[in-house]
Structure formats: structure tokens, C-alpha cells
Symmetry: C2
Subunit: 288 residues, 2 copies
Amino acid sequence: MKKALAIDVGGTKIYNTIINEKGEILTEVEKHHTPKTFNEIRALFEEIISKYENEVDVIAFATCGAVNNENNKILGSTGNIAAGYPEMDFNSLSKKPVFVENDANAAAWAEHVIGSSKGMPYSVMLTLGTGVGGGIILDNKLYKGKNGAAGEMHFKMRTDKHRKCTCGSYDCFEAYASGTGLKKTAEEISGDPDITTYDVIENNDRPMMKKILEKWQNDILEGIIGLANIFDPDCIVLSGSMAEFVDIDYLEKQANKEIVTTPFRVVKASAGNYSGMIGAALLALGVK
Amino acid sequence: MKKALAIDVGGTKIYNTIINEKGEILTEVEKHHTPKTFNEIRALFEEIISKYENEVDVIAFATCGAVNNENNKILGSTGNIAAGYPEMDFNSLSKKPVFVENDANAAAWAEHVIGSSKGMPYSVMLTLGTGVGGGIILDNKLYKGKNGAAGEMHFKMRTDKHRKCTCGSYDCFEAYASGTGLKKTAEEISGDPDITTYDVIENNDRPMMKKILEKWQNDILEGIIGLANIFDPDCIVLSGSMAEFVDIDYLEKQANKEIVTTPFRVVKASAGNYSGMIGAALLALGVK
């Protein structure tokens, strides 16, 4: 069975392990702090690859940033990683074939092949964390758009420039549905600028905290309704640390009442914490 | 060259003509009022088809309502046409092959093959009329979703249940970007429940009317930004009677400043008033 060296590149951590065609993690996951400079990141990649490349058939990166699969180049912004990172020449890092995919897209593919959207040709994954990631599977293929940048969950929740988004625009789904969005909603409802998401979640039996969580969840619901009307998908998959705090059954039931398209599922991701690496490995190994 | 008998079925009018593989209209377009009952609509279809079916290779319907291409059945609601209309057995209407597609999807296909999105693999068309129609072309194919209902432009502009939408939910793009949406926006800004879209458009040099049009156009802009971030398309095509009143150049320029995906065009539809029939004919004749 073929194997991939999978490397997950985030703004704060870099992980690596070896994964087979079944999506099974074969070696202990190694964790590194993401270095601050381009050269140090590149050196870390070289170190990991030189150590393992002889054991595998392909190198599979799951990375922050959108990826053009034609040249393995990163497109546009990549958040808080070293500024020069998009210039990385991934292809030159190994004598083995190198495959690069956006981490949210890779995770959506892992769900599609071995996770909770398995067997469903049309799915949209929303990763609710500090921000919101998106991955779209259409007709059993990862949807990338004209240049590989598709699946950015920056559609509007309001049109009155109420809340600044990390993308530079205002009022995107990410600015409401993310953990950061929950904190902002909590600030707005409580009037307390120091309130944390932890305060809200730990005290969710208190009326105000309940109200905050309901508002946050309602924004997620409204986003899901829009995506279901646009895509007519089999399911919407929710992943990420913040997905723990939504009522999946309620979201599915309520969204299905409000859509004009056809009934769909809302499910929690099941491919686990390393779904980015698993999905990148499966894509790199050509597993559908 | 092969030909299709094209029939456009709307809530108020039904049109028919003959169209060839180049998308050329070969006969004068016949216009009928849409009958009030299922049986009368079916009888009109039979009359049109019996008159022309011997001159054509295929019958091509562009209809209100979402269409499942596997069985030519209409899915879900169809607005103000006779209640039983979705039960129409299109396949039984002719001895020639019958093809049925949603009118907005068909129009998007006409733009893709002979209109303003020609040569662009990824496009989203928004038809701004009394309501808003949508058609999505991805990788040079009409995108239909799991059951054929995709492309409904019912994603949210607000999340506080401010404005009821025709779909039964609240605050959808259609409820703001349509002609009906412009009237609602005009009512809200002017405080005059009797104001018409005509009043606004005819008096667009007056400050209040200017403000109303700017708010309406900004809602369209916000919707376009969301779609561009989700799809990373080559272009967004605007069609329909209300598309006359937007500033296409401004929309393109401003949207490109705010997206996180890659540069895209905003263009006006160019396939003409009968693009629904043309697109249905091209799809029925297998022209890509």
C-alpha cells in the first residue's frame, strides 16, 4: 500500500506523520512550533522530508492559504505565518512528487473519503475555529474555482459595515460564526469588552450567556441555509473546536424548514484532529 | 444543423420559437398568456408541440421551478403558476425527445455559450427582475447540485428577520436585490408605502432616490462579494430588467477590492431577452 509523508502547516504549529491509502496514521505525529522566518520554515520542511522521504511515495502538504494545484503555489493571504511563505517552492523540497492543498480543503476531502460525508457526492465543510475554513466537494471532486481560491466563507451576514472581518471587508460569515465571532457577539450583547468565549461556554446556563450562544448559533444557521440554497448539497459538515458548542440536530431541523432546495444533512466531522494531513495524503495518493 | 422547439414557461407568459445549434432564433417568437389551470397549460403545450414537432429534433423547455434532469420533473415551488404544474409529465408531451431546464439555469447556459461569459469556465449569473434567479456554471458545466435545485439566490443579507422573503424565510438576497427589494428599500428609506421602483428610477437625481438606489446597489455588491469568495469565478453575469439600473463598472471595481479570492469580472448579460429559450435549446441540442 502506498504511503505519503503528510505535513500540516499552520500559523502556530507544524505537524508531520506518515499516512497510507486508507487514511491511517502510521507513525507518531511530530509537532513543531512554526518558525518565524521563511528560511527557518523551509529548513524545517527540508529536515522533515530528508528524514522520511525514502519511506514514502509522495510528500503531501496541508497548508494555510489557497493553493493553485497547477504549480503548487500559494495564492493570496495566509494569516499569521511568515510574510514570505507564499513564495515557497514546494516542488523543489523533495525528489519525490510533492502535493500541496489548502488545509480546510484537505480536511473536507478526508471527511468525504473516510469521514462523516463519506458516500455523499455534494458536501460543504465549515471549520469553526479561531476563524472559519471552508471546503467544498461537488460531484465527488474538490471544488477549487478558476484559480484554486474557492471555498472562502466570506459571504455577508449584514450589509451595514457593522463588524470588521480579518479579510479587510466587513460582516463576513467568518466574523460571526468563528470563535472570534462568538467573543464579539458576547461583547455586543453583554457590553463587557473583556468577556471571553470561555466565560460564555462555561456559564451557558445563565440567561445572558444562553442568549449569546443562541445568537451565535443562529448566525451559523443563517449561513448554512444560504449554502444549502446555493449548492443543494447532500450535507454540511461542521468541524473545528467551536463545532462542539452547536446543536447539530437543531441546525439540521431548522435549516431544512427554511431552504428552498431539497432536504440535506448537517453532520459533525468524524475524521479527527489530523483530518488536514489525512485529506492531503489521500489527495496526494489519488484516493477518492 | 439540428433545431429545437423552445418553450419558455413563466408565471404570466409562455413563449415559443425554433432555435438552431448556433442559438439563432429561426421563427417569430409566439407569445401566450399563461393559462390559469394545469389542464389548460398542458393543452397549450400540446397545441404548440403538435404544430412544430415535425420541424425539429428536440423539444426544449425553459421553465420556472427547479428541474431534476434525470426524470424531467419539477422540484419544489414555482411561484405564481397553476398549483399542479410541478406534476407535469413533460416526457409524454411529444414523440421527439423532451428536455426541461430551469429558466435561469438555461439563461446562464446561453450566456456561457453565446453571450457575455463565453469562454469562461466558471461563472455565476444573477437575473435581477421581480425576483432574483440564479444560474451557476462550473468547469464549463451547468451546476445543479444533488437533486437539481442548486443556484437559488436565497442567502442572507441580514440575520435579524427584518424582511420577509418570497421563499418563506427572511432577508434573502432576492428580497433585497430584486425589483421588489428595491421597492421595499425605497419604502424603508422614504417612509412612503406607496413609492414605486418607477418613482425611484425616474427621479434618481433627487438625493433621497439616489440614496435608495445606492443602498439597493450596495446590497447587490455585498451579494456579489460573497459569491466571488465562495466560487472564485471568472465572472458574475447580471441579467434581467433591473440590471439596467446598476453601475457594472463600480460593482466590478469595488467587489475586486473586497474579495479574498482572485480577480474576476462583473458583466452584463448579452444573449438577449430570449436567453432562457436559447439556453434550453443549446442544452437540449448538446451544444457546449
